[in-house]
Symmetry: C2
Subunit: 328 residues, 2 copies
Amino acid sequence: MKRIAIVGATGAVGQEIIRLLELRHFPLKELRLFASARSVGKTISFRGESLPIENLQDDVFSTIDLAFFCAGSFISKQWVQIARDKGCVVIDSSSAFRSDPTVPLVIPEINEGALAQHKGLISSPNCAATILLMPLFPLHRQFQAKRIVTSTYQAASGAGARLVDELQKETYAYLEKKPYSPFLPFPYAFNLYTHNSPLTESGYVEEELKMADETRKILGDETIRLTATCVRVPVLRAHSVSANVEFAKSFTLEEVYEAIQKADGVKLFEDRAANRFATPVDATGQNEIFCGRFRLDKTQPNTLEFWAVGDQLLKGAALNAVQIGERL
Amino acid sequence: MKRIAIVGATGAVGQEIIRLLELRHFPLKELRLFASARSVGKTISFRGESLPIENLQDDVFSTIDLAFFCAGSFISKQWVQIARDKGCVVIDSSSAFRSDPTVPLVIPEINEGALAQHKGLISSPNCAATILLMPLFPLHRQFQAKRIVTSTYQAASGAGARLVDELQKETYAYLEKKPYSPFLPFPYAFNLYTHNSPLTESGYVEEELKMADETRKILGDETIRLTATCVRVPVLRAHSVSANVEFAKSFTLEEVYEAIQKADGVKLFEDRAANRFATPVDATGQNEIFCGRFRLDKTQPNTLEFWAVGDQLLKGAALNAVQIGERL
């Protein structure tokens, strides 16, 4: 029975972690909630108790066994090492340490084994990478992925609760024909934009490079090549991805469907007779990654196309972190 | 000076054609407007006159020189041959005859030459194909496209004015927390779905196969392979596409940007310093296809990624049809 902390407890991911700890009867003897100064004084209900939001202090981590960090890279870079130095194990949902070769990057259904090597810190992956990798992994294990071309359809929630709120307010103003000053440098109501993470010299944005790097690290295969186009769409909280994957080995669609149906955490969601496939609303609030539209891409040998949708805040973030905590 | 007809004058594309004929001073001596029975009796203003909506009759086409058909495949299949038999030349925006080898499929900036072979009927291409091909063509001409992997982000307008209206009404009801019975078998407010054109045995929907077939026909190259994932997003009227293109020849990014900047009907829309690229709202109401994010895909030799956005109702439909009419 552990003493647990959540750093970023009032954010979209933090809120989901609190809900999941309660729902999944996570074994803990104490839960401490940390957030920025402006939330101090508020309380959050957990297992019938009202827990106060606290401000982070160096010494708190000596009384914590396991901390979930979900307050973004900046806070993680500032506090994770302090927590580790006090003997606290950290599960970090930010990108701060994901590319550090000494830090395991874990999706439990895929590479739980990597947890054994942790040195007080485990990173939880990028949400779009997770949603792609959950259905890709069982196929990769059998047929060996070589090259992936993916395009994403990412929800507002990936940029935090503030953008979810903005999308709704801006859309409402648009429909009411009222003036509105958007938070972004362009409209988001009924609009979409290529992902606004920093643009690198290569022409790819960081989100796109993260998908490639994290795919190699999680699958433990430096030869896998991935190229992505990441796009923010006017959807509230589930991400979708289209994937075109070239495998080293040949396969049949029957083998693909069989592998998917046996995979943990992945749900085949399609009704071909009704031409009905997963949408973000279907996947919202669901633990599994929904997938379908597996089809042979005849433009190239051993190539498969598919579609996957997952709740960005659940398997894409909070659920994966909690699952890591459960495995520890 | 010709006698012109528009079949489908009250639809989203028909309305844009009327607007463009006026705006572009299309040479005509008479304009006749046709639509379904329920619109008969209404009028539409054109060059200061009030033109009546008429019902189609077999014999009208003997008094028409050029007809724009934009009422969908069903109407085109029923009436286009009748019009041709009366000596009327048809520009058809539907998919009805696009794959017929005796019918030119034309984007004037790309294959205007194909118009010379017309036998009274020219097809205007699929909107998503047009938006992809406009920036692809100048690159293909120099570097020879071999294989294209594309994902689309298609606006409501591609399914007609009714879906544009539905998206707004359903979204408003969602924001007002009011009950709403969606027109589609799933929600569209803040949601997206893989394109609901008929699903074929291959697992691809017809929209995806159209993009492949029309690309080969318009570029006049049966060896080009294209695989697509078509998705309807909650955007009102401009389509976006991500494209990953393998070329036969090697190229530099400088050559790519030079080719794009010289191409007709294509506008480079990017500000790398501001990390700002084209969005559907930017392209709405614009004649050009906006493109950018050209980047070398290092996962494979001679491969380029890019992003393109275009007004589905303009270059994606009405403008292309009017440009064909201007060239005739």
